[in-house]
């Protein structure tokens, strides 16, 4: 449990980084409700983070940073998902495919032979 301002400021940093456990977030929220100094410090930290994100070209930046996905990785996963869907669809079509599937059309047609 934090007792000093320095400790509360460290807790605020951790909270904004998304690394604070729920119980400690609750304690921090309770402290912020009674400590105007810490509440102001938190608002100041938020403003700094937003300013930094905007300067980095992200006008809708989230305060809590999210893990970034690289373009190549994303493309790979999309390609894998598409390929999986295609293979699954082809297999399902072969196995259960629409009505009338199964044998070739010519096999279902009548024939006339001479005995």
């Amino acid at each position: 449990m934090a007792d000093t301002h320095e400790q509360w400021l460290a807790q605020i940093d951790a909270e904004l980084d998304g690394e604070l456990p729920l119980a400690e977030r609750a304690a921090l929220a309770k402290h912020l409700a009674t400590c105007s100094h810490c509440a102001g410090a938190r608002a100041s930290h938020l403003e700094v983070r937003v300013a930094l994100a905007r300067s980095a070209g992200n006008p809708h930046a989230f305060v809590v940073p999210r893990p970034s996905i690289r373009g190549g990785t994303l493309a790979l996963w999309v390609a894998l998902a598409l390929a999986g869907g295609l293979i699954g669809g082809w297999f399902a079509s072969q196995r259960w495919g629409g009505p009338g599937g199964g044998s070739a059309l010519e096999e279902t047609r009548g024939t006339i032979v001479v005995q």
């Binding site: 009505p99 009338g100 047609r109 009548g110 006339i112 032979v113 005995q115």
Partner: protein, 283 residues
Amino acid sequence: MGLSSFSSVLLVLAALQGPGTRLTYRVRVIQPVAGAQRILASGAVSGPIDSDMRLTLRTDTAEVEALFQVTAVGDTVSLGGEFFTRRRVGQSRRGLPIWEEDNYRRLIQVTWSDTARAYPFGSATKPGALWVELVLEREFAGGEARPGESFDLADSTLDFRLEAVVRPRRARVILNLVRGDTVSAPRPIDLVPEQPPRVVQLVLRGRATTLFVGLTRPEPARSPRDRGLGREADIVCLRVAAAAALPGQTLGTICGRLNNIARQLPLPTGDTLTATFSWPGPR
């Protein structure tokens, strides 16, 4: 032209006219059961040499309608079949049956003594697949143009039908004039389709009505299925015109099959003309 050449020409003409030779399709529907052959149905259809045969087979999961046609060239016969099939292939999401429709043609060459075997539901190699055994016969007969049909059904679960499809070269038309509850004497007349109209006089209560009547073929059926199966083959149309009418002016047209059912045409005089179409007698 010598006498023998003249006789040959007459013989060829007589052969081309057809009714001298009668064609019979003998049919058996057979299902193999444990190595034996079970006859589900049998029958025969006969008629003039250009007669076709319409065969219908229905089971719970498949329907086949086929029109068999024969073209004889000497001792060889071309046997053609126009098949219209429906197969039940499953159910829709709402539980309704889904049918697959197909249409195809088959043609083989046989001789008169051959037995042809048709597998209407396909898969000649599939065990248990039923087949239709078809034997063609010809015999010399008089001028009998009326088709004959007979069949015997051994298995009542099978819907089986055989019909002769014959385009009549001539038709017997019986005309009556009706006024109120009075009917004129029947006036039978043999007519040939697409020939010039003939004059008919019908007398009712002492008043004579003179009409021009001519026989025509109906318009081809709109549906390709009906056309392919020759459903309109035995339908003829009687064009009726007044005696003083200009060419092309008619009082009306009566169409019907050659099935002895009277059909009516109201006339401007207030009378009703009834026409009954039937197959002509042999000659």
